[in-house]
């Protein structure tokens, strides 16, 4: 029988942590969500990060509107008149606050649209890798034995493959016609596939370790004694107890995945032009950095702030969900 898994947070001692807060009149038990929020809102850095991420999400969804409101040209609008007689791009001005690139495309407009790619890759890529990692980790930890051995070795093998080299290989192989009979399309599809392929083992290892511990707990024994199936035990009893660590780890994985996308795009196997991507913009800016600093600086700053915000948010979530590990 479940003991209300949503209220559970795994702790090093294996116990269930409940907090009680006294008011002037009586003692009231708070829900885990209330407890979380109470702790989280005290972390101002995490709150600011959350605010920034929400801002990014709004920008990403409303990119065309934002660009329109700011009076900027579209991200792919080329205007070679905005380059000098050598073809070098012109710097920041009132009409182009972040300057333009070698094709006369507005850098600010492209930075705004680049938000979409980064968030799509970060969130979707992390979602898929989390899904795979959780399933594999649960199966390995729950069944142990040969299943664990097999899956753990698979994880070891996967972890031994360098992500960027794998990315370069798959990116190159799938760059024109796609791969797997067109299932993986060049560009965003390849990047998300790569990220999912490369990062699920990290989640799987964490989940496996937690499941190995949780499967020995009384509530699992109780559920088993009541005749629950393995699937029910895994997904209805154990999984809810993993929500917090999964959430924390996933939030920290998002910025890593954004950086992987940027790195792959920088190396030329990521997002395909003319779609704006920060990594690709930084790569294009490298040869002309001496004469067009703005082209590298603005997407670079956007990338830095986004990754920083997700990292700080992840730290805040970890502290709020598991106060014993707080900084």
């Amino acid at each position: 029988m479940s003991v209300g898994a949503a209220e559970l947070l795994p702790t090093p001692g294996g116990g269930v942590e409940l907090e009680f807060f006294e008011s002037e009149t009586d003692v009231a038990a708070r829900t885990p969500l209330q407890l979380f929020w109470r702790r989280f809102k005290q972390d101002r850095v995490a709150l600011v990060s959350l605010g920034f991420i929400i801002f990014l999400i709004v920008i990403a969804f409303a990119a065309p509107l934002v660009v329109d409101i700011l009076g900027l040209p579209g991200p792919n609008t080329q205007n070679l008149n905005l380059t000098d007689s050598f073809g070098s791009p012109l710097g920041p001005s009132a009409s182009h606050p972040f300057g333009v690139d070698q094709l006369g495309q507005d850098v600010m407009s492209r930075v705004i649209y680049g938000t979409r790619v980064s968030l799509e890759v970060g969130i979707i890529g992390t979602g898929i890798s989390t899904l795979i990692g959780v399933v594999v980790g649960m199966l390995a930890g729950f069944y142990r034995g040969w299943v664990d051995t097999l899956l753990s070795r698979l994880i070891d093998v996967q972890l031994s493959i360098p992500v960027l080299l794998l990315g370069l290989g798959i990116g190159a192989a799938c760059s024109v016609r796609g791969c797997l009979s067109g299932l993986i399309q060049p560009g965003l599809g390849v990047i998300i596939f790569l990220i999912a392929l490369a990062t699920w083992p990290f989640m799987a290892r964490i989940v496996r370790g937690l499941v190995l511990s949780l499967r020995e707990r009384e509530f699992v024994d109780a559920s088993r004694a009541m005749g629950a199936s393995d699937a029910r035990i895994m997904f209805r009893e154990i999984l809810p107890n993993l929500a917090a660590p999964i959430l924390v780890y996933a939030s920290l994985q998002i910025p890593l995945n954004i950086l992987i996308e940027a790195a792959l795009s920088f190396l030329g196997v990521g997002i395909r032009p003319p779609t704006a991507s920060w990594g690709q913009m930084i790569a294009s800016a490298t040869p002309i950095f001496n004469t067009a600093w703005w082209y590298m600086v603005f997407p670079g700053v956007a990338l830095l702030l986004t990754v920083l915000a997700f990292n700080l948010l992840g730290d805040g979530l970890r502290d709020a969900l598991n106060p014993r590990n707080a900084r």
């Binding site: 792919n76 080329q78 070679l80 380059t83 007689s85 050598f86 073809g87 070098s88 070698q102 094709l103 190159a172 760059s175 024109v176 060049p186 030329g268 395909r272 032009p273 003319p274 294009s284 040869p287 002309i288 950095f289 001496n290 004469t291 067009a292």
Partner: protein, 603 residues
Amino acid sequence: MRSIRTVAATAIVALLALVVTACGSSSSSSSSGTGSNSSALSSGGFQSPLNEPLTGGKRGGTLQVLDETDFEHLDPGLAYYSLDYEVVFATQRPLYSNKPNTSTEATPDMASAPPEVSSDNKTVTVHLREGVHYSPPVNREVTSEDVAYAIARGANANIANPYIGAYFKSVEGEPAAASAANGEPIKGIVTPDKHTIVFHLTEPKAQLVSEALLLPLTAPVPKEYAEKYDKNKPSNYAAYQVATGPYMIKNDSSGKVLDVGYFPGKSLTLVRNPNWKESTDFRPAYLDEIQVKIGGSNTVIGRQVLEGNNVVNNEPSTPQSDLKLAVESHKSQLEISPGAGSHYIAVNNAHGPFKNINLRKALWASLNRTALDKARGGELFTNVMTHFIYPTIPGFEQAGGLTGPKVDYNEHLEGNAAVAEKYMKLAGYPSGKYTGGQTIQVVGAKGNPTEQDAEIVNQTLKNLGFNTKFTLLETSTMYAKFCNVPKEEIDVCPSVGWIADFADPQTVLNITFNGKLIVPTSNVNWGQTNVAKLNEAMTAGESVNGKSARASAWAKIDTEIVENAAAIPFDWDKQGMLEGKTVKGVGDLWDVGEWDYNWTSLK
């Protein structure tokens, strides 16, 4: 017709985005026929191979050279790239070679006089200089048999020279030697005495063969010394080579240069050839030593050269930002060389929407070629391309010079929507936009400025209503896996470029537009142009003799290519090169983008 092997090699040339050299023609004809107009050859007041003084250099000193990339082949029987040529033409003496300021008026080098051509254009006779000796450890005098061996070894599979099938196929016995591929002598190359060599041809193609005699393949190689190395597959003669030119790669007493004077990926040192006699040569060879440092970042190299003294860069593609800096702040350290080949957009004439000639014309009409050239550095470093024979190649002026053939889709350099719409309608799209529903595959090359070229072309296609699948790849992958492979059916390759092996219009147009030369791999007729009339004209053009007559014949072919909109031209390139503050650099018009060590000196 050229062999597949040659096609492959030529493709590599183009693949490296204009790294290959253009060579001069023989002096067998009196008429220059270059037809290069002054604007096309302008360097904007900066140094140019055309205005450099070739005399008065100071003797002595060591020149430092910074090359981002390594050499490909230093064996004269295999050298193909411009970077290789800078070394090979300082260390070897082909029968003919060019002075730095020309690509069309070859000077007898190992030869003592221009080639003698028989009245039936089937025999070419060349007399050799006397008194030219090999560097140590060979030391002996060069004979005509050495030249015959040098050319024959080109047909040896262990060397596999890329030119021999293309330009010497009409030499009697060459095809047999090539198929035997074991280094046997070529029947049609005979040496009646120690200083005479005669080429017997099966077809009247003396002009083409004479012009090809300035390829490094004709530099003498001592058989008794090289044969043991040539038996290896591949030949390792390059590692033990001897020199006939003013310089030699530093070697040990056995003649070994590998890991003595040449460290692959790291450095190469040229020192004076002790057996070279100035009296036998027309080159001054001012410098005592040339030290080439290999590797590093192109951008950093540019800055090092501009701030340095006795240093030059030899990377053909100096970054745009460094060129701009040089123009603005280091004017005396910049040289601009015209005739650096052409860039055009290959559109698939055989498959897909662009099989329709009017769609090709519409794309041509709508393309802003000025914008493309601006992305390549602007007017100082480019001319807008209007046809396919480029400046410095005979036939350029006859084909229309800078303005090119008078067809409406070629007249508007910045693109013209009305003309484009006219051809879209003629193509069967009354709205003026493509509504065929077919997504077209565009495969371009990464890097600056090819990436910008490709993006401008992609946007132009979108403006015409096409849905595109746009991919940027490494240049080598773009060519080898896609644009050079007809079965891939790539619709548009926007980043292709071409530079001639030597200054003859056939070397510009034949292999790139002759339908008979389409091959399954390493194909450089990228658009798969296969027009019977054009093919026949090119076959006839191969046998035209006389430089002026060839220029006219091939100019007509050029015009027909434009009328077929077989490809869409956009850039005649010029190369910017940088030299240190104390260098009196002399660049080569015939080996664009390279300094000539035989003529460069220190101030």
